[in-house]
Symmetry: C2
């Protein structure tokens, strides 16, 4: 039993040790673990091990067939206690365009109460915050109220392509009372968020070839143009207003849960903020905050991530291109399966007369969400109330995708708790940043969550 | 008066000197005068001067404001004789994709009776063939039956953007009994062609921006995607079957001339050959040769020369792109004016709700055609009969665009005579080539044409 005065002391200890957070995190961020580059993995895994061993975890690097090692750091207080898993990753997004960074992405600096570096928000900051929370509880109360397993992935930013076979080899690592998956961002105003899962994603590449080689564009009267052909195929997939036209696309998606809609009504986040964040010309969804957040939450997408064909250099070349490409991603809701959507996509193209359009699957993340009534989400709500004096913004799932499903498929509820980042963290863009005030409170929420699980 | 035995000797001299053609042309082709790169112009002009001075022409490099010099090489036999203008250009198309070339584009090689190099067909080969024809007539008969002006442009492949002010400064250079404009290609079977003009072209670049910076694609539910927006605008311009949907687009285009349709019926060229030439999957126009050649001749186009947006590198990046671009060209018929079409395009986008799509004019060539009854086309017909023993394939205009209009606007008929290239020359593609047998006969047609103009 953690006593009330111990609780208070745990929180004040975290305040006192906040300098440690900055120091430990800065060292960790200096290891440039860019996922797409396939390098620095061993160094990244060792740096993660160091962070976790410093708080007394029993750390091992578990090899992953074809991928970087998974870092497992366990604090087992008592074999009879339930396990809580804290999932993060040590790899980070690429840094290009580098010239848009105000400072070196791998040399963390603090400006105006914010710490800037690649990986600060996504998600090394969360690993360090949770590690210090665990340490503070043990230092003050002598023991944790649950067993804790840090699970630190090495290629989340590449879509964790080897995690499924890993999960089949090591099912017990994914089982527990619950798993926190990375973290959810604060609003600009500093309100924390709790997401109960995440959308899924299917990413694909389309290629269409209308001839063996490009021609002079004067022959376009009689020879098909690959770019026009690709555009015709793309237009068959999605209406002007964004509705996806693939038969059966939404099959299996239940109507929004009334309880969750009530949470969304109370939620203060507003996609209208993207107008300022990204200079967006327009925000879809409607005139009210509620309409916009419903659209962001329950909307599915077919996004053109990239398209290219023909001559794209300076000046002009009059060419009728032989080949055209597009990279697409589909954001999916619980009830949809990426592999099934891929099959529907292929069938759609064939049915609509586009069997000449080749489709290659790039990556998938399954959508997944947990019930808010589970112990872990309830512990997060309690901790947020205690630390912030308020409810968090609750989302049925995050807009992006994550490894949530690898845990929920094993029966482990896997929400995103409040973390160190905020809506302006630019997690996948130049000048990634966290606000130190957010980080300070995220550490306390992590501690509060573990304490709220006492007697689970 | 050129005597019959002199005619015979002129033709046999050209046969004897064919090795000179290969040597002189190869030296000329080694100068990499890529138009889009804006370099090597002076070197290209000097190389052209050398070719023309070698046959006794009086050569000057006439500066063109803002552009490369125009090379004028004159052989004035008698001030009372009419002038015939032989228009070509010393600039060439870019060479990318370089890895599809079987040999260095600027190191000419002969394989299987074909000479391969960038510019061999388009159009250095024609300049050299015509120069040697002029030289042979003078060497055998002592004099030319007309005055001849070589007019060698330096930026035709960039759309000759400075030629209109140049024409206004030097109107006399564009006046004559007629002007040959580059050349028309042989069929694969070796039948020569005569085109009485050329289509026009308007090339433009479209840009649409939906936000200031790219976003993570999970926000595509609520933030517009620039690539989808561009595609919507493009689809408003052209039907699936290729019809252009801009109001008033075909205004001013007369119905096909019955006399020309008769020529097209006799014409042996068949666009179906592009299936083999370019590996085209399909040829538009219809089931008969006549239907296909009518489509190629009287068809207008809106071609996507290039399109690009978002992430186009290796792997996948889940990004909702802020900006998208397309390069387009419109092939136009006599009766259409490129500048008017540009205005219609801008008005169309505004009317259809795409005023956010910016349009930049890249280049224009006016469409133009001459009457077959003029002296120069008739001389070409006579020479073709003499050299080939047959009529050429006659076209009202070439499928591509050219500088024809700069001459016809001064009252100078300006057809494309049979030249060194053929339907498989790949003028704007890798492995540009000419067949040596075609070149040998093109030289003779050039000589025969000049001889047929005696007493003009």
């Amino acid at each position: 039993m953690i006593e009330p005065d111990e609780r208070t002391k745990i929180y004040s200890t975290l305040d006192t040790r906040f300098e440690d957070f900055v120091t430990i995190l800065s060292d960790y961020l200096r290891v440039p673990t860019i996922s797409a580059h396939g390098a620095k993995f061993q160094e990244g895994a060792e740096a993660t091990k160091k962070v976790l061993e410093a708080i007394g975890a029993d750390v091992r690097l578990v090899p992953e067939e074809g991928g970087p090692p998974v870092v497992i750091g366990e604090v087992e207080e008592d074999p009879t206690l339930p396990w809580v898993i804290l999932y993060n990753h040590y790899d980070v997004q690429p840094v290009d365009p580098l010239d848009e960074w105000r400072s070196d992405p791998f040399d963390p600096v603090i400006r105006d109460g914010k710490l800037y570096a690649r990986g600060a928000a996504d998600t090394k900051g969360n690993t360090v915050a949770q590690a210090l929370a665990v340490q503070a509880i043990r230092d003050v109360a002598g023991r944790l109220p649950v067993n804790v397993r840090f699970f630190v992935d090495g290629e989340e930013e590449s879509g964790s392509p080897h995690l499924l076979p890993f999960a089949e080899d090591h099912p017990d690592l994914f089982r527990g009372l619950g798993a926190t998956i990375e973290a959810a961002a604060h609003t600009r105003e500093g309100k924390p968020s709790l997401s109960l899962g995440s959308k899924g994603i299917l990413s694909v590449e389309l290629e269409v070839r209308t001839s063996a080689v490009d021609q002079h564009s004067s022959l376009a009267t009689v020879i098909p143009n690959a770019a026009w052909r690709l555009i015709a195929a793309l237009r068959s997939l999605r209406s002007e207003r964004g509705r996806i036209l693939i038969d059966g696309f939404l099959d299996g998606v239940p109507p929004p849960d009334p309880g969750m809609l009530r949470y969304l009504r109370r939620n203060t986040a507003d996609p209208i903020a993207y107008k300022e964040d990204y200079g967006a010309r327009e925000i879809y969804g409607g005139k009210t905050r509620y309409a916009r957040i419903k659209q962001a939450t329950y909307g599915t997408t077919c996004t053109i991530d990239g398209i290219w064909s023909g001559y794209t250099g300076a000046g002009h070349k009059t060419v009728n291109p032989a080949v055209a490409h597009a990279k697409l991603d589909f954001r999916l809701l619980p009830g949809q399966r990426p592999d099934a959507i891929f099959d529907l996509l292929v069938a759609h193209l064939r049915t609509k007369g586009f069997s000449d359009v080749k489709v290659e699957k790039h990556s998938v993340f399954e959508p997944a969400a947990s019930a808010i009534s589970e112990r872990l989400p309830q512990a997060i709500l309690a901790a947020t109330r205690e630390v912030y004096g308020t409810e968090p913004n609750v989302f049925p799932w995050s807009y992006g995708s994550s490894t949530t499903w690898y845990f929920t498929r094993m029966g482990t509820p896997a929400p995103h708790p409040p973390g160190v980042g905020y809506q302006g963290s630019r997690a996948h863009a130049p000048n990634e940043q966290i606000r130190l005030d957010d980080a300070r409170r995220a550490m306390k929420v992590a501690a509060g969550m573990l304490m709220a699980l006492e007697h689970s």
